[in-house]
């Protein structure tokens, strides 16, 4: 019989971690929802942001929280460059072309980073992130807590943006029915650019947060791309709420499974969840029918 206290501990950590994972996946889900493309380089933009925080901290002594904000801005800029420079040019083409373009970006970013900064692992541990809080007997990592708070803030901000602002509503309209949105005077191309930029910016934000407790190496993008993928499938394509909940579930699953299996295998757990969802409920928690 597993220690209930341990389970509760893991669940709490998992929820916090899940918030952070959710923000990463939300970017991917948003881009897919509006543009109907998968940003293969999603995880690698995250990696860039993590490196940014690392360098800012190591060479300029800047707090990773500032790193997060700068990462957000960097994400906006990079997203703009990539979307307008590459993706926009191939949007009308068959899917294989857009897939290959974002996949090429993945390769260039990931291996460009390896060429520039070497394959070694980098870590940063600003002092207050190392703290462990003790709330009512439950031990919470400060890094997780701050990360979760920032992620939640970003998620809520996104939600408000999408529901209450004109631009946000226009974005949602484009994702549901591009033709109708255009008939209403919405410039679909601007919406595409906007969604891509926001998607990458979200990941830029998360990078700063993650760098405080996650290892920073060129290949880290692969892992988060995978997690985002599983989360989006779990939550259901087209549903941002589903993606968020999916993030929480994966976070919890990861922390709980860490009790039973070696940490290296935690990705396998996520993948098994993914396979199960595909077999049992392919539309995910909230998704539309995949047809």
């Amino acid at each position: 019989m597993v220690d209930l206290w341990l389970l509760g501990q893991a669940t709490t950590s998992g929820l916090l971690l899940g918030c952070i994972y959710a923000v990463v996946a939300l970017g991917l889900s948003l881009i897919w929802g509006v543009m109907e493309i998968v940003n293969f380089a999603h995880g690698d933009f995250l990696m860039l942001s993590m490196y940014l925080s690392y360098f800012l901290f190591t060479y300029l002594g800047l707090d990773p929280l500032i790193g997060s904000i700068l990462g957000f801005l960097m994400g906006l800029a990079l997203g703009l460059i990539v979307e307008k420079g590459l993706i926009e040019k191939v949007l009308g083409s068959p899917p294989i072309v857009t897939i290959l373009v974002t996949f090429s970006v993945l390769l260039i970013i990931r291996y460009g980073a390896m060429a520039a900064w070497g394959p070694g692992v980098k870590t940063l541990h600003p002092w207050y992130f190392m703290a462990i809080l003790d709330l009512w007997g439950v031990r919470i990592s400060m890094a997780y807590l701050i990360g979760a708070l920032i992620s939640l803030a970003a998620t809520i901000a996104l939600h408000i943006f999408l529901k209450k602002t004109y631009t946000g509503i226009a974005l949602r309209a484009t994702s549901q029915n591009r033709l109708a949105a255009e008939l209403l005077g919405i410039d679909a191309r601007k919406m595409y650019t906007l969604s891509f930029c926001i998607g990458v910016a979200l990941v830029g934000l998360a990078g700063g947060v993650l760098s405080t407790f996650y290892y920073v190496i060129p290949e880290v993008g692969g892992r988060f791309c995978m997690l985002s993928f599983v989360i989006v499938v779990l939550g259901g394509f087209g549903s941002l709420l589903g993606t968020f909940l999916g993030g929480l579930i994966i976070g919890v699953a990861e922390e709980i499974s860490a009790i039973f299996i070696p940490p290296v295998m935690k990705d396998v757990v996520a993948f098994i969840i993914f396979l199960l969802i595909l077999m049992l409920k392919p539309s995910g928690l909230f998704g539309e029918v995949a047809r």
Partner: protein, 346 residues
């Protein structure tokens, strides 16, 4: 048989005559050229061609883009090696490796067939990474250090039974032979009922369903055939190099991405395209690695692979139809065994 008639017809076209000439050259090459490095490089070209052809059955002919073919390759490699430890000849090991990969691919198709193009591709990428992690941590099959061929094999005299030669030439013929077989088989399949169904699925899944095709089943079949040959290629690798490790055989960059680039360079809408693509890309990449790799050290790998990305980017944005497609569009050459025949007259 209808397929044989068609093959004879194909071989008498302009493209066919070039192919015949190339085939003859390929067969006599080791008798004429002495440079072992070159023979080895060509062997690799054939091995990668086998993978590229198999990969393209899924991509160019069934519309299933895979970034994870290393999975099938690795399953084939490990199967052969593990059977070698049990005293089973690599000939059977190769066959079983292919069959195991095929079976796995077929089962994979059941959940994966529900994923639309982008997500399918991403799923295969993720699958590759999972396999790498699992095998790198699975001590029973060698873990991160991989598996060496059984010691007694190293010490035994070379034989066909064990395929344990020192020179690359026998492996050259092995790979060439299997490539030829694969070409024949794929040609027959593509001109038969399953082949027609694959292409219908590629064109329009829902219309295919409305035409009575069990899309999930045929996707699984396509994946199984693709997995089979890729698994066999894994076996070829194992007997040739006598040592396997997960970072080599389950590698995204060294196995999965090669057929993608080769297929794109050569053109995905013909059978010959991926082979041409491999012919162009593999030697270039390998020679670059051998010549330039030493000078840049560990950072080199980054430059090397980033350049793959640049190549892929340029091709997908500028000439997505590949070399064969480009030639066909300009009416210069109708590639051998191209998909969707017929004319575009107006």
């Amino acid at each position: 048989m209808r397929a044989l008639r068609m093959i004879k017809a194909e071989l008498s076209t302009k493209a066919g005559r070039i192919f015949n000439a190339a085939a003859i050259v390929a067969v006599i090459l080791p008798l004429v050229v002495r440079d072992q490095f070159f023979i080895n490089a060509m062997m690799l070209v054939y091995m990668y061609s086998i993978i590229a052809l198999a990969w393209n059955l899924m991509n160019g002919y069934t519309g299933l883009l895979s970034f994870g073919h290393a999975v099938f390759f690795g399953i084939g490699a490990y199967t052969l090696m593990l059977l070698l430890y049990r005293g089973v000849t690599p000939w059977i090991g190769m066959l079983l490796g292919g069959l195991l990969s095929a079976g796995f691919a077929f089962l994979l198709g059941v959940p994966f067939s529900r994923l639309r193009s982008h997500w399918f591709a991403l799923g295969t990428l993720v699958l590759g990474e999972i396999f790498l992690i699992v095998f790198a941590n699975w001590r029973a099959v060698g873990g991160a250090l991989g598996l060496d061929q059984p010691r007694r094999l190293l010490l035994s005299p070379p034989s066909i039974y064990w395929l344990n030669y020192a020179r690359p030439t026998p492996y050259y013929y092995l790979a060439l032979g299997i490539l030829g077989l694969e070409l024949l088989l794929l040609y027959a399949i593509l001109n038969s009922r399953p082949g027609y169904f694959f292409q219908a699925i590629r064109e329009d899944e829902e219309a295919a369903m409305a035409s009575g095709i069990n899309v999930t089943l045929y996707k699984c079949i396509s994946m199984a055939i693709s997995g089979f040959f890729t698994g066999v290629a894994g076996g070829i690798y194992t007997v040739r190099f006598g040592y396997i490790d997960p970072y080599a055989v389950f590698s995204m960059m060294r196995i999965s991405v090669y057929p993608v680039i080769a297929g794109l360079i050569g053109g995905v809408y013909s059978l010959i395209g991926p082979i041409i693509g491999s012919l162009i890309f593999v030697p270039t990449a390998e020679y670059l690695r051998a010549i330039v790799g030493g000078t840049l050290g560990s950072r080199f790998q980054g430059v090397h692979f980033a350049s793959f990305g640049i190549v892929l980017l340029i091709i997908s944005m500028r000439i997505p139809e590949g070399l064969m497609g480009w030639l066909e569009m300009r009416g210069l050459l109708k590639p051998l065994m191209s998909s969707g025949g017929g004319s575009d007259e107006r």
